[in-house]
Symmetry: D2
Subunit: 429 residues, 4 copies
């Protein structure tokens, strides 16, 4: 067996980029992962084995799930595998056990693309090279195509280290990271059971040059995503305004008061009402309104405080205007920081990689990531976790239509990742 | 017996003006009424006989009640009478029955002075003439001193008509009109039982010259007066803002949403948040806030709608901010209009009075008056009611520190009032 | 020449119903009106002659204007006429002068269909009979198809009365009544110049049986329609919320405070925020929001008060949140009431029509109608105006997908309309 | 000369406690300081020499200033001194120069008592011992009486070290710390000119046992104190609500939107609307409202952001409701942290004091203190600053009616303070 080449990493990445799939719909990507791991001789679990049905959040409509299933088949996905993944069970876990006993180390990668229309102009590299997303309105603008590609590269590398393994390695490929919807469902299915060390990485977050490594992210913000609906009663706004029950006004009052949730003395908080849509007709009291909201904090207690306050506010605002409200939690991830011990290991590993030119200490992540939910789970169980950064120039910021990274970062990532095992005692060096 | 003279009317009015007493505290005034009616040979009921204890609204603090009791005694009130009036039972009803059967006619007058500091400057007639209120912060700025004076003048006039009476006359002297607090308590005590015709009058409302009579007021607005309190929890605004429960913010949200109660398609509505007071310290989350509110409508259904909406809003706003709320109704009167038949009778009576120079048709009252609660009661029981206007120039508008009326209006009022009985069949002309 | 038959009225109505066109796009309908009036020998003005370019409000997008132009051509509209109507000039005026001098009488009808998806179920008469709107999302749910049909019927009837005419008759066919967008533009073009009597009518408003006539509508509410936009600045809601300028929050604050504009003491008011749409993404501070609003009153001063308050509120709310705002007035009509003299004429005319079974006195309209703008114009110039009701059962209320009226009402309407001329002195009886 | 005894420190403290004076009124206290320093041979500056007239914030009413002046004279203050302090110039600076050149070290103490009614119950030590505040509504509930006492103890100690001084010592006694009103005025008068080292201390902040020293406070929050007034127009709430301009509603809208100022990505922020008072009468549109507000942040840029947002919000809310607004800044202090070098010096000094039993590293202050304004000034000029904690059990938290500290802490404080000079090179050890 040969180490994966830069060309192979690029080929995988571009194939995934082209077949971009939104969260819970990653059938093409997951099928590819299943096939690759199987061919490498790993024990492979996928579908409902690794995704707890009731712990999934923010599933798309059935039509969307079906559409991507059909698309995956049309693109050549093996129906035997695809049938087990379809309907929102698009996670995969590969397991490789060492010759002797040792620690269990989990590496985690995310599979999903994001909402948004990808740039089609020739100054966008994927467009120019012909691997732009074939699914209008969905594209890889956060680098998860690269993450999955690195994961498969790492699988090959570890397979080649097989004789030296002194513990167990798990490669976790998670669906639906965007919106913080997928990690909990894999955790609930037990994929982190007995994991002592958890390792994840992200491309291009505060590491903006190929060859730069951030040894760990701290203060990844915990977050809760809420979809809120208000249902009232329409009425002719001139003849019988008193008969109406104004759902839109309840939403407006909620929005103002959500933004006014008092600061928390123990943690940093963030609140955003991302959108409101309500009412149709100028002369009718609005009978319905919807609102999308996110809450964040670097402190679990403060995040819980935000959730309780948001519930109170929505219920109170609805009551004020005689309408009903419904709050659906469509995503959630806890706050987490990297364990300094593991950040040191990452730095150590990176130090041995010739293509690494700069190693930065741990920095604040400033945003949220579903990996944090897994980190907290491992940490709560007594293990250690790290989420580190793989540097790359970016063509545009994450979630921008022109987002793109430098593919040379993929090899660097694989090289660092594989060197993490020996210092953890999971492989002989 | 001689008819009451203008001089006597003025003397009574000035004595009452000087001894101004707020609602539920009119012991000096009510004692005077009891004495006068008794001397005239009327059957007199007062105190708890004519005031239903539990139907009273907006009572002042015990200390206030006690203070005015002591003041009345000091001013010479008979303790035997005062003891039955004290503690918020300051209503009086005089009854005089005719020789033969006939309709029961009630005339109603109000006794109370109002909050506010009376002008002390020499351009204010009561100050110049030395009969300004001796009770700082309370004075007759709505003319009720004149109303009571006219009521006692009418008592003398009817006594003189005694031989011609063919029904029953009741003279109702009501406490606590300001704030719409007293009428319900007299109604609940049964003072309007079997009343066929109800007559009330007001000085200087849309009748701004002595000699002018408004034959009836229509669309007297129904109103509800609410005192609202929010109780939350204080906290250091920098160290632990999340621990606070912001009562003031709940009040602010309530105020905005109260003002935004939708218009009613069937009736005119009015909402006012008259004041908010909340919080003490700049660096503490406010733990308490209070709010005074009034709701009004010319339509009973719409007034009920406002009350329900206000309850919902206050409860919802409190819930939003995790505080408790208490809504106390401290005043209420329904909407009413004069019956056209009785307005015609008033016009007829006025037409016979030489000092009447102009008679206007019924007009909208535009404000609220506790008399309306009595009107509605009589009307609901199948009787007729009228509230008419006795004209007078005003020195300043009602409730102004400089409010004053022309005392010549008092004689005009008595003359019109007494002429109302014959056309109603309650006296032979 | 024969009087128009019920069958002809129905045929015209159904043809217009089928080719439903929204405001400013009524090319098919207006072409038909032009052709009919021309054939009857009337002097016909249309297009920019009768529509003042700059006074038009709420024009649709150019693409919409073009679409209906093409549709009208495809449906057989004469391009010579259509070319003069296209681009938002879809008004028509027919003029017929009497043999002798006399008053100028204007009859006004509206041409446009409304937004909304028409019911396609067989229990909807137009669907069952195959004349449902061919333009999805636009249909005649307010009866203007019937109005236009009556107008053409009236044209025939007056043509037949030609020898008796002693003044001038104008038939005004107005576009864009929905949203109160068209009347001002025809007024500004001078179509009401020298009109002494203005007559309009509506199907099924508080007259819910064929054969019933409401002799006049009063208190047609004046109204202003506003489209409001807020433009702020997006920002990552977790990393840099302070950089954002929240357009959605400005809209929410506006909505709440618009609803809280104090009642007006001199007139009834109505306010509705019909819809808000703002923000796209859960984790981005919303950079844009739009809002549609209407203000109404039965009192011009109060309507002006609402407009000024709305401007202040929007500007203030935008300023609070550091965003810009734009308020565009997309419709306006003043309040009006029918002149009692003309209501008597309508009643007189109706009284002579055998199919009229009930004539009601003037009633409140309770809503708004662009006809009122024309009424006020005529009244301000010293003329008289009436807007009366032609009764019909309705299958569902106006603006409902199932709205439909009883076509027998059309003949009744024409019969009443034509009998209005003689009592006005515009025709010999 | 003898070192100050614990008994003397206690006596001074109790005398100051008894004669509690609010900010800008500390004539009794400042006179005592002037006298003591003069007797010790220090150069003493006070009154307008050390207080810049125009930089003073939040002065009380003239009557209050006069009252405390009279009280101080009555309590024996020397009129020659008091006359220079009166009218809000109650700062004092003592200067003592060493024999040789060396650094200038400033020690700062605050003089003022706070608003609040002191507990009078016997379980309150000052009450029991008879030294409770003689000025109802003002008392030392923050320990500044102890601070001043320590300052005078330190003056004695340094005087005794006079021969060893190798630089200049300034003892700054600041008025009006509460509300962050006084520091800027002393800075503006130049009292920190050429200061290389600035030292301040506070009793009982996160050091809750006698013998405990906190070596430095970090992240003292910058703060701005605002008094805000809205002026509108009253109107009868039923007859002419449209004529009113609702100042209270503007305050409510402001309060809600102030609380909703978005979080800042670069610094922690705090906002509090401490109180609102507006409106008088239930049936009048409120014409006036006032609001007290504070803004805080650990980041100067974020504090500036809060100020700008608050200005926008108040102006916008006033504009929305057609009222005028006035924002007065009545207090301000910047954020500051102790320099680690000086914290080390404090720890070194404390380490030599036998009565010190525990030395804690620097901790977050969590609140605001006017000392920070002086710290920032010195730091901006290239100097170093420290604000450290002198431990004491507290009977109740700061600003509580039962606040009291253990007087033994005073000696500990003086012992630590005097030992700070040698390691700074300002005295030979």
């Amino acid at each position: 067996m040969e180490p994966i080449t830069q060309g192979e990493l690029v080929a995988v990445r571009r194939e995934l980029h082209r077949h971009a799939e939104p969260g819970w719909c990653e059938i093409f990507a997951a099928t590819k992962v299943v096939n690759t791991l199987t061919q490498l001789g790993w024990q492979v679990q996928f579908g409902e084995e690794v995704i707890s049905r009731d712990a999934r959040m923010g599933l798309p409509a059935q039509a969307t799930l079906d559409f991507y299933y059909q698309q995956a088949l049309a693109a050549g996905a093996d129906p035997k595998i695809a049938d087990r993944l379809r309907g929102g069970f698009t996670g995969v876990v590969g397991i490789l056990k060492g010759m002797t006993k040792g620690p269990t180390v989990a590496f985690r990668f995310d599979l999903d693309a994001n909402q948004g229309v990808e740039a089609a102009a020739p100054d966008h590299f994927p467009a120019r090279e012909g691997f732009g997303s074939i699914h209008t309105g969905v594209h890889h603008n956060c680098g998860h195509d690269g993450h999955t590609s690195m994961g498969l590269g790492l699988a090959r590398a570890i397979t080649m280290m097989r004789e030296t393994l002194t513990g167990e390695v798990r490669l976790i490929f998670q669906p639906a990271e965007e919106g913080l919807r997928g990690a909990k469902a894999m955790v609930a299915a037990g994929v982190l059971k007995d994991v002592e060390y958890f390792v994840g990485c992200h491309l291009g977050v505060q590491a903006l040059a190929v060859g730069e490594i951030v040894a760990g992210y701290n203060n990844i913000l915990g977050s809760v995503k809420l979809d809120i609906e208000f249902t009232g009663q329409g009425a002719h706004a001139a003849i019988s305004p008193h008969v109406g029950r104004n759902a839109l006004l309840a939403a407006c009052v909620s929005a103002q008061n959500l933004m006014a949730i008092p600061r928390h003395g123990e943690g940093d908080t963030r609140i955003n009402v991302g959108s409101i849509k309500g009412g149709d007709s100028r002369n009718t009291v609005p009978s319905a309104a919807s609102m999308i909201v996110e809450l964040r904090s670097d402190n679990e207690v403060a995040l819980q405080y935000l959730k309780e306050a948001a519930d109170r506010i929505v219920t109170g605002a609805a009551g004020m205007h005689g309408v009903t409200s419904r709050v659906e939690q469509v995503g959630e991830s806890r706050a987490a920081s990297s364990d300094p011990e593991l950040s040191k290991v990452v730095a150590l590993a990176a130090n041995d990689v010739p293509s690494v030119t700069k190693i930065r200490d741990a920095v604040d992540f400033k945003g949220s990531d579903d990996a944090a939910e897994m980190m907290r789970t491992v940490q709560s169980d007594g293990g250690k976790a790290v989420y580190f950064g793989v540097g790359t120039e970016l063509n545009a910021v994450h979630h921008n239509p022109y987002f793109d990274f430098d593919e040379r970062a993929l090899s660097v990532g694989v090289e660092v990742l594989k060197r993490i095992l020996p210092p953890l005692g999971a492989a002989k060096s």
